[in-house]
C-alpha cells in the first residue's frame, strides 16, 4: 500500500543552514509554536511534491543526543518515539568532523535517514574538497551535496527522500563500532533490553546506559532495575580498563570514528591568504577593538530601530485614529460604541502602532545578525559581564531584544540551554525598559525634569537588573552556568530566510499578545464605563498617595499601564487634562511615578508569554514580586528625593 502523506524531520547541528533548508522546503506554509509543555520552539511546515504531502519538522539545532539540554531530549524522543518516515541529517561540509559525530548518534537511533551535505560552497572556499560518494559508502546512507542558500541540491534531496520512503530502499547504515571490550558489553545489555520492548532501539539503550544517561536509566529502572545495575557494573569495568569514565570512553571513540571518516573523505588545501571573514572575525573579537565595534553596532541598531519605530508608529497612529469619526458615525458614541472602540479597536490599534513597529525591525536585525555570525561574537565579548548575574554571554541576546519589547525578549530566552538559565534570563528581561517604558522615561522625566534624570533612571534600572539578577541566581537551585558555544564562520545571511523567520515570529507574537491586549482593554473600558475607576483609585490611594506621594489619579493610570506601559503616560495626560505634566505633578512625583511605572509589573502580553513559557506559578510569582518590589522601591525613592528637593 502506498500512502502519500509523509513526515520528514530535519536534524543537525546549529548554524548548518538547517533553517534555510527548512524555508526552501516549506515556503510560506509554516507554523511556529512550542513543543508541548516545553520552552523549545517547534517549527513545522508542509510541502507538496509530485503528488505527495510532506510534513516537515525542523528539530532544534544540537550537537549531541545526550540529555544536557531540553532540545536534545526533545529531538531524541521525537525521532525514536514519534518515528518520522525519514530523517534528513543536515551537515555543514566545512566543519565535517563535529557534524559527523552527531550523524553517528542519529544512525544509532535507527530511523531511515539521508544526509544533506550542506554549505559545499563554504567548504570549497576553505579549501575543503569532499568525496561525497565515498562518504555515502562509508556511512551507508544517501549523501546529497547541497548549497541551501542558492537552492542547489534541494530538488535532488527531495527526490531522494521520496525514493527512500516509497521504495523502502534497502539501506544498510553504518553502525559505529566501538572497541571490542565495549562492544561485548553493549551486546550483553542489548540482549537484556530487547526483552523489555522499550520504545528505543536496544543497542541505543545499551550505549546510553553505558554512557550513564540519567533519563534512560530512570525509565529502564521502572521496567527492570537489574538491567541498570548490570550496566553500572559493566561501565565500571570499562572505566578500569581505560582509566576514564565509560561515558568519556564512548564519546571519545565515537569522535574517533567521525574523525576517521572525515579524514578519509576530505582533502584540505587551506588558502594561503587569510580570507576576509577571518579578518573580520579577528577584528570583531579583538581585545581592544572588539568592544567599541560592538558598542557602535548596538547603538546603531537601537538608533535605527527607534527611529523607524517612532516614525512608523506615528504614521499608523494618525491613520487609525483618523478612522474614529467614521466609526463613531456608524456605531454612535453610546455605551456600545465606547466599548467597541475604546475596548476592542483601541486595543488593536495600540498593539499595531506600539508593538509592531519596534518588534518588526528588532526581529529582522536579530535574525540577520544571528545568521551572519555576529551574535555569537557579541555573546563572546559579553560573557563575563553576563556572568555577574549568573547568566552567560548568550543571554545578552534576549536582554537586548527586551529593550525593544519584553515579549520577544522572553521568547528569545529559548536560546539558553537549561530551564534555570531560561527562567533567570526571562526574569531579567522583564525588568529591562522596553520601547514603551522608554517613552515614559523620556516623555515625562526627560521632557519635564531633565534629561540627566532620565538617564539616571535608565542607569538605576540597569543597576536593579544587576542586583536582582544576582539575587535570583543565588536563590534558584542548579549548577552555575557556563558558556560553550560554536562560533561559526562569518557568512552573508540568506535574506529570504531572515525575512521569513521575522514574519513567522511576528505572527507568533500577534497570536499570543493581541487576544490579551484586546480582552484587557475591554475589561478596563468596562470598568471605566460603569464608573468604577475612581473608587478603585481611592482604594489604591494609601499606596499611591500616602506611601508613594503621588496624585490619586495615578492609581488609574497604573491600572491602564498593565495593558501597555505607555498607557500610563497617555492616561496621565487625559486625567490631568493637559500634556504639560509640570502643571499637575512636581519633579519628585514625576521621577517616582516613572520609577514605579518602569518596574511595577510586566505588561499583560509579557505576563502571557511568561505563562506560556514557564507556567502559571512562575509567571504569577514574578508578577507579584515586581509589584511589591516597585512599590517598596518607589516609597523609599520618594522619601530620599524629598531630602534632595
Amino acid at each position: 500500500m502506498t500512502k502519500n502523506k509523509f513526515t520528514i524531520a530535519l536534524a543537525g547541528n546549529a548554524n548548518v543552514g538547517k533553517s534555510v533548508i527548512f524555508n526552501q522546503l516549506t515556503g510560506l506554509h509554516q507554523h511556529i509554536g512550542n513543543w508541548p509543555g516545553k520552552t523549545v520552539e517547534k517549527a513545522e511546515g508542509t510541502l507538496h511534491f509530485k503528488g505527495y504531502t510532506i510534513d516537515v519538522i525542523d528539530l532544534p539545532g544540537i550537537y549531541s543526543l545526550s540529555t544536557f539540554s531540553i532540545e536534545e531530549l526533545i529531538s531524541r524522543e521525537y525521532i525514536a518515539v514519534e518515528r518520522p518516515d525519514l530523517v534528513i541529517n543536515i551537515v555543514d561540509a566545512s566543519v565535517l568532523e563535529r557534524n559527523l559525530f552527531f550523524t553517528l548518534q542519529l544512525l544509532e537511533l535507527g530511523t531511515p535517514m539521508i544526509m544533506a551535505l550542506n554549505q559545499m560552497d563554504m567548504a570549497k572556499k576553505k579549501g575543503i574538497k569532499i568525496d561525497h560518494e565515498k562518504m555515502e559508502k562509508l556511512l551507508g546512507i544517501p549523501v546529497i551535496p547541497t548549497v541551501a542558500v542558492s537552492g542547489t541540491g534541494i530538488y535532488e534531496l527531495l527526490e531522494k527522500a521520496i525514493e527512500i520512503i516509497e521504495k523502502r530502499v534497502n539501506i544498510k547504515p553504518l553502525k559505529a563500532k566501538y572497541g571490542k571490550e565495549i562492544e561485548q558489553r553493549i551486546e550483553k545489555i542489548s540482549k537484556m533490553v530487547e526483552k523489555t520492548q522499550f520504545k528505543y532501539p536496544a543497542r541505543w539503550v545499551a550505549i546510553k546506559l553505558l554512557e550513564e544517561d540519567k533519563e534512560v536509566e530512570k525509565e529502564i529502572l521502572k521496567i527492570n532495575p537489574e538491567i541498570v545495575s548490570t550496566a553500572e557494573k559493566l561501565a565500571r569495568e570499562i572505566e578500569e580498563i581505560h582509566g576514564h569514565s565509560c561515558s568519556t570512553v564512548i564519546t571519545s571513540e565515537r569522535y574517533e570514528v567521525a574523525s576517521k571518516i572525515a579524514r578519509e573523505v576530505q582533502e584540505i588545501t587551506p588558502p594561503i591568504k587569510p580570507p576576509m571573514r577571518e579578518r573580520i572575525h579577528a577584528l570583531t573579537t579583538h581585545k581592544i577593538f572588539g568592544y567599541p565595534i560592538m558598542a557602535v553596532s548596538v547603538l546603531l541598531i537601537f538608533y535605527s530601530i527607534f527611529t523607524f519605530g517612532d516614525y512608523t508608529s506615528g504614521l499608523l497612529g494618525d491613520f487609525f485614529f483618523g478612522l474614529k469619526p467614521i466609526f463613531e458615525g456608524a456605531f454612535g458614541t453610546g455605551v456600545v460604541g465606547k466599548l467597541v472602540w475604546g475596548g476592542v479597536i483601541e486595543g488593536i490599534i495600540g498593539g499595531v502602532t506600539v508593538a509592531l513597529p519596534y518588534i518588526l525591525p528588532f526581529y529582522f536585525i536579530l535574525y540577520f545578525l544571528e545568521d551572519s555570525g555576529y551574535l555569537s561574537r557579541i555573546a563572546f565579548l559579553m560573557d563575563n559581564i553576563m556572568h555577574k548575574i549568573g547568566l552567560h554571554g548568550k543571554a545578552f541576546i534576549p536582554v537586548m531584544l527586551g529593550f525593544g519589547c519584553n515579549v520577544p525578549g522572553c521568547l528569545g530566552c529559548r536560546i539558553m540551554e537549561t530551564e534555570k538559565e531560561r527562567l533567570l534570563a526571562a526574569f531579567v528581561v522583564t525588568l529591562v525598559p522596553c520601547a514603551a517604558t522608554t517613552v515614559i522615561i523620556l516623555g515625562l522625566v526627560g521632557a519635564f525634569v531633565s534629561i540627566q534624570w532620565a538617564l539616571a533612571l535608565y542607569i538605576i534600572d540597569l543597576l536593579i537588573i544587576f542586583l536582582l539578577g544576582r539575587l535570583a541566581f543565588k536563590a534558584l537551585p542548579g549548577e552555575p552556568t557556563a558558556l560553550i558555544m560554536e562560533m561559526h564562520d562569518y557568512r552573508v545571511p540568506h535574506l529570504k530566510t531572515v525575512l521569513k523567520q521575522t514574519w513567522f515570529r511576528l505572527m507568533e507574537f500577534v497570536k499570543m499578545a493581541f487576544p490579551l491586549i484586546i480582552v484587557g482593554s475591554l475589561v478596563i473600558k468596562l470598568v471605566e464605563v460603569i464608573n468604577l475607576l475612581e473608587p478603585i483609585a481611592n482604594v489604591l490611594s494609601p499606596v499611591t498617595v500616602t506611601w508613594l506621594g503621588l496624585p490619586t489619579i495615578t492609581g488609574i493610570t497604573l491600572i491602564f499601564g498593565v495593558l501597555r506601559k505607555e498607557l500610563t503616560l497617555i492616561m496621565l495626560a487625559t486625567l490631568l487634562g493637559t500634556t504639560n505634566f509640570a502643571q499637575g505633578m512636581t519633579p519628585v512625583q514625576m521621577i517616582v511615578f516613572t520609577l514605579v511605572a518602569m518596574l511595577y509589573i510586566p505588561c499583560i502580553a509579557t505576563i502571557a508569554t511568561l505563562v506560556k513559557e514557564f507556567g502559571w506559578k512562575k509567571a504569577l510569582f514574578i508578577t507579584i514580586f515586581e509589584i511589591v518590589f516597585a512599590i517598596i522601591l518607589g516609597g523609599i525613592a520618594f522619601r530620599l528625593l524629598m531630602l534632595v528637593y
Partner: protein, 92 residues
C-alpha cells in the same frame, strides 16, 4: 611536558586534553551532585573536548572573559570557569 589548566595557556598555544575536572557543585544530596558533574563533563565531551584531542587557544577575551579555542576543525567559545576545569598537557 607539563599539565596545565586550559585557562592558563597563552594565546596561540596548543595542548592535548588529559582530563576534565568535575565540579564540587552546590548539590543537595549525592545523587544530584554526581549528575551535575556528569552533565558538565558530557557537555564538553559532546563538543569534542575528549581526552587525547589537540586544542589550541586562539585568544582570550579581556577581564577574565571566555576563551576562543580551535578544536576538531571548528572554533568554540568556552567560558573561563569551564576552561579552568579542563586539563591539558603542554610542551613548554
Amino acid at each position: 611536558m607539563m599539565e596545565l589548566r586550559l585557562s592558563n595557556l597563552r594565546d596561540g598555544e596548543s595542548g592535548i586534553i588529559t582530563s576534565i575536572g568535575v565540579s564540587r557543585g552546590r548539590g543537595r544530596g549525592e545523587g544530584r551532585r554526581a549528575r551535575r558533574g556528569w552533565g558538565f563533563r558530557k557537555r564538553l565531551e559532546d563538543m569534542g573536548l575528549t581526552p587525547g584531542t589537540k586544542i589550541t587557544v586562539v585568544k582570550s577575551a579581556p577581564f577574565n572573559g571566555p576563551l576562543e579555542v580551535y578544536i576538531r576543525g571548528s572554533r568554540l567559545a568556552i567560558g573561563r570557569g569551564m576552561a579552568e576545569r579542563i586539563f591539558v598537557e603542554v610542551k613548554r
